[in-house]
Amino acid sequence: MLTDGTRLSKNEVIPWRIIEGQAILIDLEEGEVVRLNPVGAEIWSAIDGTRTVEDIVNRIGYTFEVSQRKAKRDVHRFIKSLLRHKLVHAWSVG
């Protein structure tokens, strides 16, 4: 269950790099190259093992100048997609 307090970290076996604002991830298990658009790349960059989902929502809202509600909806949807692809790990504290 994804909550505001959930912390996220990247799957360490996924090589990645930001190229021209897009995050390029190589999913060696699925044999696919995954491209994240600039918003996805910003979220991906923000995932560092210390930030919570709420922190990331705030950062996206501030960076792309969108409402808190829209930022929360998009970030949650995107992070769920990353979790399904096993590109990130999530855990709740407390």
Binding site: P15, I24, I26, E32
Partner: protein, 562 residues
Amino acid sequence: MSSAARSATAVAASSVQASVLGKAEDSLVGARSIGNVLTMEDHDDAYYAWRQCGFRERILVHIDSHMDWDWLREHDPRDLLQAQTLTELDAMLKEQRRWTLSLRDRLDPIHIGNYIQPALREGIVREFYWVFPDVAISRTGEPSGILRMLRRMMRVNPSGLRNLRLRDRRIHFEIDGQPVTACTLANLPRLSEPVLLDIDTDFFTAEPTEYVGTGRSGHDRWRQLPWIWPEELLVALRSKELRTEFVTIAYSVEGGFTPLSYKYLGDELAARLLHPVLPEPDQSISAHKRMGAWYRHFGFLEQAIAEFKAAAALAPEDASCRFNLAYLHDEQGAYEEAGACYQHAVRLDPAYATAYNNFGQNFQFLSLLDRAQAEYERILRWDPQHVDARLGLAESWTQQEHWEQAQWQYQAVLDSCPDHPDANRELGRVYMERGLWEKAILQLKRAIVLEPAEGSTHARLGHAYYALDQWNEAMEAYQASVRYGFRSVSLYLRLGGLYLGKRALYKAWRQYRKGVRLAGRIMLVFLLTVARAVRRKFSREFHDAHGWHQALQERSDPLADH
């Protein structure tokens, strides 16, 4: 092998080191003796020989039915992240043959189909001439089939193969920036410096694509005649004033490229390179074999037997004479004599016991199953313990869906060779077809122990569990199959169904999507194959009408002056 051919190989073995020191002198091919002639079964051994000899920046003349060139997947997928721009990344991804995105797939090793690429990459070769057989030329006199193949390669790796153009009946292009020319023997230009000469024995026995299976030898490939003989090749090379100090010759019997009955052409070529005027008795041995082949082609079995017997009397240690005699006796119904000749050939050269000592696999590939079975039965008459022939027979029964006969043959293979992974896997399939699911599961599990990375076995195991409604086991087996790189529409659809049953909707949707995409690709390939077959049919009719088959026979008929 004749005495001259044996000495050619021996000379090669002892003088490889001389080449390293640069002491070997180059000679005019077909005019002067060439000391370094190396014979080999697998053509990629040529690459290791060139490397061992320390050759650098040489011109390679590769005379072969096949280009033996492919890109090695040399890059780690992580190297994609070295791209500086998205355009660069897209360009890198277009070179599909260079990347294996999944680390499950091992990097391609060097093999008979790609050994020239590392020779170019490492600077052993700086310029590459591929001489293909005349039979690759279309009715318009253009090498259109070769051009099509090169265009396909260009599509796969556009930055690796560039500047493809046809000029003066020669195809010019660049591979990784290095010049390559593909042409027939007649169009090979005069080269000003000594070359590395690399010849495949299958060059002699090439048949045009449209004749494969119907061949100018008819359906009887045993009667096939080479389109060119070794001395004719050497005369052609001499007319080009080609010079070399190092020749590599591959037999290429394994894989079915050169018919085993003509493996001796590789030895004869080696002998003629060493002795441009072949000494006695090698000249007589060669003449008798040639006559034997011609008599066989025209169906004069008695005369063919007499010729090969005469050759065998002069070369008692020549396995090829015994092997050709085995076939001829078998054709006459003298099965005991045939078996004795075959066993004699194998004693002289154990390589004659190969799985490719018959045309069963060729006929199987062409769905000429009666002919395939006749081939396997012939070998089993000669050697009832021949595992590959028994397996081939079992496979042809499987293709005909005669499950009981197939089961009997697979079990016979396993009686003599219990750890044969193919026989275990295929017997598992036969049990499945007969609805013996429990037995199938046991057999497939045994096959997996013997060959854990064979994805198709895991898929079949999944199907067996699926049939028994053992969903968890089926899912596990299907997942293993995908992990080992096996792909099929039914696999994706069933895996999708299993995910759906577990309410894993996203995963189910992904599997269904993969299944539909794969089905689309299969349909596209099917339509392209049909279109190609229709085009080939018209092309063949045109060829037959112009009767170049007859022209080839008229070219040099030794029966006329014998």
